[in-house]
């Protein structure tokens, strides 16, 4: 299929593994889905922390269930990415461990306190869910299928996150202050979650032209602000003065993007931020430590352990 045909046909769930897709489409879709899958894994490195810290047995149970969902999402997404025929899952995981794999900005910041749980589980996950809901209409069918299952599960994550936020903001004055401080720290990162404005986004135009994406970064961020600012305020959080939020003519909210630190964002997207080294280093060490198990499984697979393949 040539690019012109792809552009013309582009629509929800329009293309699948049986279609002969042009190189540029396959590369762009792989980049996008791999990024998404990597983000599920690296989000887990943050969320994992909260299982041990959870201040109630039920919260502990909920957190470990949530992290399972995330790893489950990674499994679905790597498979969806593999269907494009560009990279195998092993290759993508190798890239993630060696620092070539890219993932969401928010997951480059290590966490160490329970106050950070709702920042990830409510705001970051809420933002992710906004984006994921629009990806049910992506043109690459296996990606859309993964999104069906992911969106089904995510509702619990966001409500779990909001429930933690609500509990913290009903806590002692000191707890409320610590939560506010943590929010102040995370808020700009959360706003950057949706990436730079459209004219700065290199891959955005092509992605939309071929139906991989259906909504722009700006639209997503603005709708997120309209939904989550009232929520934050409802629980007693104050929106920091900077970056400035303003109301547009149509009554919806937007952010003054010049107020955000895009240098830091770009350093992160090159995996060169301090936190990037820490998070990726942790991933690499953890993966290397169990390399022997994967080798052991491979040798089992290639020996008598498996059932013989049916002959063609």
């Amino acid at each position: 299929m040539d690019l012109e045909t792809v552009r013309k046909r582009a629509g929800p769930r329009e293309f699948g593994p049986a279609d002969d897709m042009p190189e540029r489409y396959r590369t762009a879709a792989t980049r996008m889905i791999q990024f998404h899958a990597n983000s599920e894994v690296m989000g887990g490195y943050l969320d994992k922390t909260f299982t041990r810290k959870a201040p109630s047995l039920d919260r502990k149970l909920a957190n470990t269930a949530k992290v399972q969902d995330e790893i489950g999402h990674a499994q679905l997404l790597y498979r969806a990415a593999e269907t494009l025929g560009v990279k195998t899952r092993a290759e993508m995981l190798e890239e993630l461990a060696n620092g070539d794999g890219k993932f969401l900005n928010c997951f480059h910041y290590p966490v160490d306190s329970w106050y950070e749980a709702p920042m990830i589980d409510f705001f970051v996950d809420g933002g992710a869910m906004r984006r994921q809901a629009t990806l049910k209409s992506t043109s690459w069918t296996p990606y859309a299928h993964a999104m069906d299952k992911i969106c089904f599960e995510e509702g619990f994550h966001v409500k779990h996150g909001e429930s933690i936020l609500r509990e913290l903001m009903n806590g002692s004055k000191a707890t409320q202050e610590r939560t506010q401080e943590t929010f102040d720290e995370w808020w700009p990162r959360i706003l950057q979650f949706f990436g730079p404005t459209n004219d700065e986004s290199v891959h955005d135009d092509f992605g939309r032209a071929v139906g991989l994406k259906t909504v722009t970064n700006d639209e997503l961020r603005n709708s997120f602000l309209n939904m989550y600012i009232p929520k934050a305020e409802k629980h007693g959080l104050e929106i920091p003065e900077y970056p400035r939020i303003y109301e547009r003519d149509d009554g919806t909210m937007a952010v003054r993007e010049d107020d955000l630190d895009w240098d830091e964002f770009r350093t992160i997207s090159r995996n060169e931020y301090e936190g990037s080294h820490e998070q990726i280093g942790s991933r690499r060490r953890r993966q290397e430590a169990v390399d022997w198990v994967r080798k052991s499984l491979d040798s089992w697979e290639s020996s008598a352990g498996t059932t013989p393949r049916a002959a063609d």
């Binding site: 894994v41 887990g44 490195y45 994992k48 299982t51 041990r52 810290k53 959870a54 201040p55 109630s56 047995l57 039920d58 919260r59 502990k60 149970l61 909920a62 470990t64 269930a65 992290v67 399972q68 790893i71 489950g72 990674a74 499994q75 790597y78 306190s113 329970w114 429930s163 509990e167 913290l168 806590g171 002692s172 707890t175 060490r285 953890r286 290397e288 430590a289 169990v290 390399d291 022997w292 198990v293 994967r294 080798k295 052991s296 499984l297 040798s299 089992w300 020996s303 352990g305």
Partner: protein, 278 residues
């Protein structure tokens, strides 16, 4: 599942003071083992060898937390609060076995799998020994737990068979066995009120009998994988006993970690997330 009709069992209101003390000792042992085992197993979440094995081990950990919760719930019905069971209970009052508190070495998946196996076999024997308990609310819960434990044991057995199929893997499992075995024996150390627990029929087997059953199950299986099982009466036993509240240093560190946020936040009651639609 059991031969005793519920009408002949003891209800909460029928417990004598002496019976209640014995029952609590039994329940804390069950609950603490599950809780601490789960707390350690969750360390593998995100760090497991593959995405699929990550989900499996984390789901097992989640089940064990869920089982701990069932047993702590029974204690709550006897008047304890969640903070009294978990968050504010002195670490020297915990009566879990030493096996479940041991820290994992980096990448020591052989330990994770073998520990799961040694624990799950003991767990099954213990659940079967309380299936016919005289305490009705306990009997009601055993079936639920046994169902989930089947998956755990299958998981451990399948992994052990595959890991021991090559020399490197078998060597690692053997190392884990040599390391864990003395601690695993503490699963069967009689804790406080052991005689009363059996006398009142809360458990129908004494721990000594359970220990024999356990050895008769794990030894032949592990030997069939070309592993050498240490001689139980000859291994060097740790000074700590677990069931009597004495624990290895690793426990204190773990306890401090998982209770820190609770103490920092000082919420009035720990959040509960239970069924709202039935």
């Amino acid at each position: 599942m059991s031969g005793t009709p519920n009408s002949e069992r003891i209800g909460r209101a029928d417990l004598s003071a002496e019976q209640q003390v014995a029952l609590e000792a039994l329940l804390f042992r069950l609950a603490d083992d599950e809780f601490v085992h789960a707390e350690r197993l969750t360390e593998w979440q995100i760090y497991a060898p593959t995405l699929e094995s990550d989900l499996a081990i984390a789901n097992i950990a989640q089940d064990e937390f869920g089982h701990a919760r069932l047993w702590y719930d029974l204690l709550k019905r006897l008047g304890y609060t969640e903070p009294e069971c978990l968050w504010e209970r002195d670490p020297t009052e915990w009566t879990h076995s030493l096996l479940v508190e041991r820290p994992f070495g980096d990448g020591d998946w052989a330990d994770a799998v073998l520990r799961g196996y040694l624990y799950d076999v003991a767990e099954r024997i213990r659940l079967e020994a309380v299936a016919d308990t005289s305490y009705a609310p306990l009997a009601d819960r055993v079936g639920k737990v046994l169902e989930e434990e089947n998956y755990h044991r299958e998981h451990a057995v399948n992994w052990l068979e595959r890991l021991t199929a090559d020399d490197d893997g078998r060597g690692r499992v053997q190392d884990a066995l040599d390391e864990l075995f003395p601690y695993a024996l503490s699963l069967f150390h009689p804790g406080p009120r052991e005689e009363d627990i059996v006398e009142f029929g809360f458990r129908t087997e004494p721990v000594a009998e359970m220990r024999t059953q356990w050895l008769e199950t794990v030894s032949p299986f592990l030997e069939s994988l070309d592993l050498t099982v240490p001689e139980p009466d000859e291994v060097e036993r740790p000074d700590e006993r677990g069931r009597d509240g004495t624990h290895t240093d690793a426990w204190t560190e773990l306890y401090d970690e998982f209770t820190a946020t609770y103490h920092e936040l000082e919420f009035e009651t720990p959040a509960t997330l239970r069924a709202t639609e039935e």
